[in-house]
């Protein structure tokens, strides 16, 4: 029997440390933006959240390919947790992005920012992952269909970005590009450490949920072995893949 959650403590500590450093840098080291002032600092939260969320979706799609190739339900569970977490990060990214837009352009929502618009569409698509999953009864079909969905949605991400980017006829003067390529040094350093911190947070949370799910799965398997099939109630909606 595998013990899950190995290395979880170290990972959690590293996450807390990186995030603390990142926040100190954001508040005390990174220079104030000349035009936007203090509120520009939400950029160090918004952009990493969005990047990590997108990577999480693609990560989920890659894990789903693993399921389709092997038929091993553990891959599906990993994919489920990856997408589930990416959705939470994505919603965070959308809210912080909206606050940033309000502060710098005076509107809660701007259609002229293609990255934000594409991100909304991707989020809308992945938001159907859970309703789809839980309206399929048969657990295997659930895993298979959810995986197929993740693969399609994963491939959709770049195509969608391309189409939305091209649709912006007047190219908005962009304050900051995603990669941080044209940021001044101190800003770039702060940004990269924030990105690392949020990335670590994603990995830690993914691992936590996987550990919880695996523990529950092993408990159920033990109960079934000891008490028989009937003693274990069928997994409800919250159990997800078990």
């Amino acid at each position: 029997m595998t013990i899950y959650g190995k290395g979880l403590r170290g990972l959690s500590l590293a996450t807390i440390a990186t995030l603390s450093v990142a926040f100190s840098l954001v508040f005390f080291y990174a220079p104030l933006d000349a035009d936007q002032g203090f509120v520009q600092k939400i950029f160090y939260l918004h952009v990493p959240l969005a990047i990590v969320s997108l990577c999480g979706f693609v990560f989920g799609a890659a894990l789903a390919v693993g399921y389709l190739r092997t038929g091993d339900r553990r891959w599906d569970m990993r994919s489920y947790v990856a997408i589930h977490m990416a959705l939470i990060f994505g919603i965070g990214g959308l809210i912080t992005g909206s606050i940033w837009a309000k502060a710098s352009w005076g509107h809660w929502w701007v259609w002229s920012e293609p990255t934000l618009v594409s991100f909304l569409i991707v989020l809308l698509l992945f938001a159907t992952y859970q309703p789809l999953r839980f309206s399929i009864e048969d657990p295997e079909r659930q895993a298979r269909y959810a995986s197929v969905f993740s693969v399609i949605a994963g491939a959709f991400v770049p195509l969608n970005f391309l189409a939305v980017r091209l649709a912006q006829e007047y190219v908005h003067p962009r304050v900051l590009t995603l990669g941080g390529g044209n940021l001044p040094g101190p800003m770039r350093l702060t940004f990269l450490i924030s990105l690392a911190g949020i990335g670590l947070l994603y990995v830690t949370m993914w691992k936590y949920e996987m550990t919880a799910k695996n523990a529950r799965m092993q408990l159920r398997a033990l109960r079934r072995a000891l008490l028989g099939d009937d003693a274990v109630r069928p997994a409800g909606r919250s159990a997800a893949p078990s």
Binding site: L124, A163, L166
Partner: protein
């Protein structure tokens, strides 16, 4: 290919017998034009607005067809019957996408003239060949994605909800490209050839999703 033709012929014959899908799609589209007339408070529209109204209406009407595409297979054992036969499973994807493409074409044969009659300001004559090309590319994308979405949704409890919920975001880039490509064609000083950029995007979208559908479709049939 022969198998795909067999299944396609069966689907078209079923539609001809029941008249369940295409007339509903066409009626829905015409009603939506009336709704747009009142909603926009305009007698005629042109340009990008006209293109947007037309594409959105066609997309929503297409959703009706997408929802019904696999219902007979699911409820009357068509999936099992097909899976019991010694044939390539991709044939079902090809046949269903082709059937949906035919349904969409029939829908447009009714909806586009109705649109020209009810809402469109400029004359439809000169830009018509360009518009047909744009719509054909759009139909191809809707047919492929619609078949995938329908095959997924038909096995869910709330298939009427899951279909549009999944289909609409997936089709947004196709809708965007179609609307942008059709916009200049429907303007009052219309050009007759659609912008190449958007035709290329639509074609790219069609190709990528056709390959993707081919790769994953078998997983939707297995049990």
């Amino acid at each position: 290919m022969r198998t795909a033709l067999t299944v396609l012929r069966k689907d078209l014959r079923l539609e001809l017998r029941t008249l369940e899908t295409v007339p509903a799609m066409a009626l829905f589209a015409v009603s939506t034009f009336v709704v747009f007339h009142f909603g926009l408070g305009r007698v005629t529209i042109d340009g990008q607005l006209a293109a947007g109204v037309l594409t959105a209406t066609l997309l929503f009407a297409a959703m009706l067809g997408i929802n019904r595409l696999f219902v007979a297979e699911r409820e009357q054992g068509g999936f099992d019957a097909f899976l019991l036969a010694p044939v390539d499973r991709t044939a079902l994807l090809i046949a269903k996408a082709a059937a949906l493409f035919v349904f969409l074409t029939l829908l447009e044969v009714v909806a586009v003239p109705a649109f020209a009659l009810l809402l469109l300001g400029p004359s439809l004559g000169p830009p018509l060949p360009g518009l047909i090309a744009v719509l054909a590319l759009a139909d191809l994308g809707i047919a492929v994605i619609g078949t995938l979405v329908s095959a997924i949704a038909v096995h869910t409890r709330a298939r009427d909800l899951i279909g549009p919920l999944l289909g609409l975001p997936l089709l947004i880039p196709a809708l965007l490209a179609t609307a942008r490509a059709a916009g200049p064609l429907l303007a009052s000083h219309a050009t007759t050839s659609p912008p190449g950029k958007w035709i290329a995007i639509l074609a790219l979208y069609d190709v990528v999703f056709a390959l993707l559908a081919y790769a994953v479709f078998d997983f939707l049939l297995e049990d």
